[in-house]
């Protein structure tokens, strides 16, 4: 046992030590930060009885870059690229949330065309994020092939991003007040072509996994979290919806142009890993629906609103949140009237969702911890910021 591990164990509310084989009591195992299945640099201290998990403690901060602090020394526009580095697999969503928050603070209205373009790109990014999640999650559980399939299809999305803004991952696609770039020639056709291309591919993932006995056995009844616990812990996103709560910010507090879109919010019942898997697959399909509608209705007009060269929002504070692929992504910005924000606080979905890990894995086996970390869909860049 590493020496400092004991320090954290004092926080654990663990029951009476259970007697185990040969009187060896609990085993304390350190998982990560260098572990192939922790999706980055998460460190989990596990308290085990044989293979049964008695409790966990997450140690985070290995990827802390002080994003929130940096914001205090940058102008509003300068800080925009930084948010892409939080949830780097869903950079577009991060940018959208930040831009909308600042616009709200400054009282700028993005033009409708910009809203539609933003929506298309964000939903594409949601599909990409879910695809990446599916591939790695399946790989954790031992199914190697889906990874390659999802990455192949994600590549198409990245190509669209690259054509639009020149970057594939950390796109910095949006600006405060709209988008900087007009869509390129054939953007609509390419997006529609992608939608047509990816629909059967999602069925293909389902063919590989949904009715696969081993997959079902590994995921059904694993990492169950109840609706009550979800709400108590502030869990959001697909995890919350898989526990049966129909809560989606796109429906509940519509932003961009989501109010004009027709889509459904898929939910599960059992709140187990299998349901979360199904919910995310369904969400990918819904995203495709949104993209189709948005491309169809894409209005003409300017793409960037009139924005002052130097942004000096009035004194005040604002909280704005959007539905990122992983859950509610919120920005709380306090302005002192200068060109730089007084304080920026990010409510990252991964960070909040990670709290649920302990409740989900207690009483399960070690192998399930990996499945559960996978199913929470965390990105350490966002957790640590």
């Amino acid at each position: 046992m590493p020496e400092d591990a004991t320090k954290y164990l004092s926080h654990l509310e663990l029951g009476e030590p259970d007697q185990t084989f040969l009187d060896s009591n609990e085993l304390i195992i350190n998982m990560g930060p260098q572990h192939p299945a922790t999706h980055g640099v998460l460190r989990v201290i596990l308290k085990l009885d044989g293979e049964k998990v008695l409790g966990t403690e997450c140690v985070i901060g290995y990827l802390h870059r002080g994003v929130e602090k940096i914001a205090e020394h940058r102008t509003y526009a300068m800080f925009n690229p930084y948010v892409d580095r939080m949830d780097y697999v869903a950079a577009v969503s991060n940018g959208l949330g930040y831009c909308e928050a600042v616009e709200k603070l400054q009282n700028i209205e993005a033009p409708p065309r910009a809203n539609y373009v933003r929506m298309i790109l964000t939903e594409l990014n949601r599909v990409a994020s879910h695809q990446l999640w599916l591939g790695t999650h399946a790989l954790d559980i031992g199914a190697m092939t889906p990874l390659f399939y999802t990455f192949r299809d994600r590549e198409e999305i990245l190509k669209i991003f690259e054509k639009y803004c020149g970057a594939r991952l950390t796109t910095h696609a949006f600006r405060i007040g709209g988008c900087l770039y007009e869509t390129y020639e054939g953007f609509e056709q390419e997006v529609l072509k992608f939608v047509k291309f990816v629909r059967p591919k999602i069925d293909e993932y389902e063919d590989l996994l949904t009715t696969n006995r081993i997959w079902v056995e590994r995921t059904r009844g694993v990492g169950v979290i109840s609706t009550k616990d979800c709400i108590a812990l502030g869990v959001t996103g697909p995890v919350l919806r898989a526990s049966g709560v129909k809560w989606d910010l796109r429906k509940a507090q519509p932003y961009a142009a989501y109010a004009e879109m027709d889509f459904e919010v898929p939910t599960g019942q059992n709140g187990d890993t299998y349901d979360r898997y199904l919910v995310r697959l369904a969400e990918m399909r819904q995203s495709l629906r949104i993209i189709e509608q948005a491309v169809e209705k894409l209005p003409d007009g300017p793409i960037l609103a009139k924005v002052p060269k130097v942004l000096k929002p009035p004194v005040g504070e604002i909280y704005h949140s959007i539905e990122a692929p992983k859950g509610e992504l919120g920005y709380f910005i306090v302005s002192d009237g200068s060109t730089q924000p007084y304080r920026v606080r990010v409510r990252p979905p991964s960070f909040v969702n990670l709290q649920a890990l302990d409740i989900m894995v207690r009483g399960q086996l070690v192998a399930d911890v990996i499945a559960v970390i996978g199913t929470l869909d965390i990105v350490l860049g966002e957790v640590d910021r």
């Binding site: 192939p36 299945a37 293979e51 399946a138 790989l139 954790d140 559980i141 031992g142 199914a143 190697m144 092939t145 990874l147 390659f148 399939y149 192949r152 590989l208 996994l209 696969n212 081993i214 997959w215 056995e217 590994r218 086996l365 070690v366 192998a367 399930d368 990996i370």
Partner: protein, 416 residues
């Protein structure tokens, strides 16, 4: 010497039965070399097939279509530093891979590639195979213990628990097939590998179709158990990368590690040979009774040659599709040479004495190849079981099913 050769070509017994130490030695060498080559080929095939399952290309650089990749790998492994952990038990650490290797290769003594193509035919053939292959558990345990490290030890315990558990279901499935051999007028069964195939010949059916679906279920049980026995996906828990890094051979590197791999693939081929021998008629060609007669014999005996000619044709098509850049000159020439060699072998296989001699082996290897392909297919398709689920499958599903099949086989044998 020619007399010696002709006598050999005309004899229809294994060297062991004939008591010919010379031919036995030759066979040992051939089998050893052949299995080693087969393992390398299997390695390449697995990487290629798996890659194509996963919409990748796999090895492409070393040799045409990566054909020489196994050789490159072998050279790499041979020249790597041989690291022995300082806290390890040196002797046991050294011994473990050897035991696994010996256990896997020794089983080939009784594998009948054809009526006359086995090193020897033991009275206890199948028992010998099961026994010797079960010795590899020792190697696993030793490797895990000798590394003096947690992950290997856990992996070794898991893997040996798994192997020991699945051996039971496997043994019961085997017994039900052995029981089927006793369904002759004299009522005497046999454990001899050649005897089992001959029993299938005499009963005019492969045992997989005997008492349908009993034989089929028994083969199913065996096929699942053998995957678990060889620690392959979806039962590859001991090597679960996301949990235990690489299992019992985490601390091994270089040549020793390659010995483990060699042993693992050899064991895969060995258990597949058991399945083929017991249920799929061993070296018997398809439909020996339905499509009987000399002309059919002739047709089926052309298969090996045709296969090699086909492979050669594929190679030449590949030559045609090679980029015409001087950069690829050597590769193109190599592929053409490879095709030529394949074609030459194909032509040689059409010579009547060789043809008659070789077709047993061809059918046997073809059937084993089906199983090898299945191994790869499983790996591409299935997620990994959890350890408790794995044990549940072994003890609560396979074992009762195997027992039931055994009982029903016995009942059916009495009644029909």
């Amino acid at each position: 010497m020619p007399d010696f050769l002709t006598a050999y070509l005309q004899s229809n017994v294994t060297p062991g039965e004939a008591g010919s130490a010379f031919w036995a030695l030759i066979y040992v060498l051939i089998v050893f070399a052949g299995i080693s080559v087969a393992v390398m080929a299997m390695n390449w095939l697995e990487r290629k097939a798996l890659a194509h399952f996963q919409i990748r290309l796999g090895p492409m650089r070393v040799g045409p279509h990566g054909l020489l990749q196994p050789i490159a790998d072998a050279i790499k492994l041979l020249t790597k530093e041989d690291i022995v952990p300082s806290a390890a038990d040196k002797f046991v650490f050294w011994l473990a891979p050897l035991i696994i290797l010996c256990a896997s290769f020794t089983t080939y003594i009784v594998v009948p590639f054809g009526r006359a193509h086995a090193i020897t035919d033991l009275n206890i053939g199948i028992l010998f195979m099961l026994g010797v292959s079960s010795l590899s558990v020792l190697g696993v345990v030793m490797a895990g213990w000798a590394s003096n490290s947690h992950y290997p030890l856990l992996g070794a315990l898991r893997s040996s628990a798994q192997m020991v558990s699945y051996e039971i279901a496997m043994g019961l499935a085997v017994v039900s097939a052995v029981l089927m051999t006793s369904l002759n007028p004299s009522g005497t069964g046999t454990l001899s590998m050649i005897g089992i195939v001959q029993a299938q010949e005499a009963q005019q059916t492969w045992f997989v179709f005997k008492f349908f679906p009993l034989g089929f279920i028994a083969l199913g049980v065996f096929a699942i158990a053998m995957v678990a026995e060889t620690n392959r996906a979806p039962f590859d828990l001991p090597e679960a990368e996301s949990e235990l890094t690489a299992g019992f051979h985490t601390e091994y590197s270089g040549l020793r590690w390659s010995l483990f791999m060699l042993g693992e693939y050899a064991a895969m081929i060995a258990v597949s040979s058991i399945a083929v021998t017991l249920w799929l008629g061993g070296w018997l060609r398809p439909f020996p009774h339905w499509l009987a007669g000399q002309s059919w014999d002739l047709v089926f005996s052309l298969f090996p040659g045709l296969l090699f000619l086909g492979l050669a044709a594929i190679a030449f098509v590949g030559v045609g599709r090679m980029p015409k850049h001087p950069y690829f000159k050597i590769q193109t020439a190599g592929l053409a040479g490879f095709g030529a060699v394949l074609g030459l072998i194909g032509v040689v296989l059409f010579i009547p004495p060789v043809r008659d001699r070789v077709q047993d082996i061809f059918w046997f290897i073809a059937k084993v190849a089906v199983f090898m392909y299945l191994y790869i297919w499983y790996r591409a398709t299935f997620p990994r079981y959890r350890f408790d689920q794995l044990m549940k499958v072994g003890w609560k599903v396979l074992l009762p099913v195997a027992l039931g099949v055994l009982l029903l086989t016995a009942v059916a044998g009495i009644l029909f």
